[in-house]
Amino acid sequence: MTTGLDDLHVMLGAYVLGGLSDEDHRTFSEHLRSCRQCQTELGQVSGMPRLLDLAGPEGGPHLTDAQVGAPVPLITEPDDERVATLLGEVGRRRRRRRAWLSVVAAAAAVLIFAGGAWLGPQLLGPSTPTLPTTRVAAAPVAGSQVRIDIALVTRGWGTQLDVVCNDMPTNGELALWVIDRSGKATTAASWRATPAGSSRVTGATALRTNEIQSLEVRTGTGRVLAAAQT
């Protein structure tokens, strides 16, 4: 039996999931040693068994005969009623919107920061090296002594920004701004200065890494402390 090249590449799937015959396993292992394409792809999916194990020995509700979503209690009202409740709430918020727009925007940024900062080490610990990451040092502007390093981590949802800052102002608010290729600036994280003058925070932006033109760390009053080109 002859085995074409495509037949070889394709064995990667069963290699990861298991189930190849001894002969196929040997053949693919040998192919893997010399095939860059398969090496790269394997790097992307080699964590798959660990993820699949999270779903339990049978793979969770979608793989068993149990009714999907059955364990979630309290789903007795019809969906339409809950949609109506939700839309009612939307209407109320929309009316109040102008009043709390700025407050909520700030709170959302802080929340993203808070979540990221705490979860960061947990979420990213062992997997960080496998994520495409660009590191930049932000150059302090004249009159500023700050030292800031930023890692841009490519994620499914955009770019995670891990910021390490030292010799920073010791009071007031600080924020990380992301400027896209069209020059539009948005906040990706905001935090309060610490007495020690150093902090590690994690921000998030929906922009992909290659859509980011530059990054700036600014004070709450908008003064730029440092900037980095990507």
Binding site: G13, L51, A55, L74, V83, L123
Partner: protein, 162 residues
């Protein structure tokens, strides 16, 4: 620009069940599930992300909300031990990832999901799977290949990157 009412209702119908499962599994607090799900959708409505990011955005928002509430409810800051928080957060993350993996499996094409079930969860060989499913071994292999690839794409989209 805020999404309009119809769009919100649509998000709710399409993603509500998935969000409820995520929140339920992560919090085990039946009384809060609906509140959190609605809050997630309201926040996303406010920030109006691009549609192609929506699912990841909903999940990320849910994650933040749950962690935030978890902390606010659990302890006063001065009592919090760093290790304790880290430990419960990582348990929370595992719970979230578990649900997300289950969701991802649910989004696979049926014939790909079947292959993952046979090869991975039931530890069958390619030959056994071929007999069970009634397709040639070559088809089992190529379906396994695309199943793994698609699963990776779906998980990336959900922000599960490990």
């Amino acid at each position: 620009m805020p999404l309009d009412d119809e769009a919100i209702a649509e998000i709710y119908r399409e993603h509500g069940p998935m969000l409820r499962r995520v929140v339920w599994r992560a919090t085990s607090d039946a009384n809060r599930v609906e509140d959190i799900v609605q809050e997630v959708i309201l926040r996303v409505w406010k920030q109006a992300p691009e549609a192609d990011n929506l699912r990841a955005y909903l999940i990320t928002t849910a994650r933040h909300l749950i962690v935030d509430q978890h902390r606010a409810a659990g302890r006063r800051p001065q009592q919090a031990q760093l290790g304790e928080i880290a430990e419960s957060d990582s348990a929370l993350d595992r719970a979230l990832d578990q649900v997300l993996v289950e969701e991802a499996l649910g989004r696979l094409q049926t014939n790909h999901r079947e292959i993952v079930r046979c090869l991975y969860y039931e530890r069958m060989t390619v030959a056994e799977t071929s007999r069970r499913v009634g397709v040639p071994e070559g088809t089992v292999k190529s379906r396994a290949y695309y199943a793994v690839r698609n699963l990776r794409v779906i998980l990336d989209e959900m922000g599960v990157t490990r």
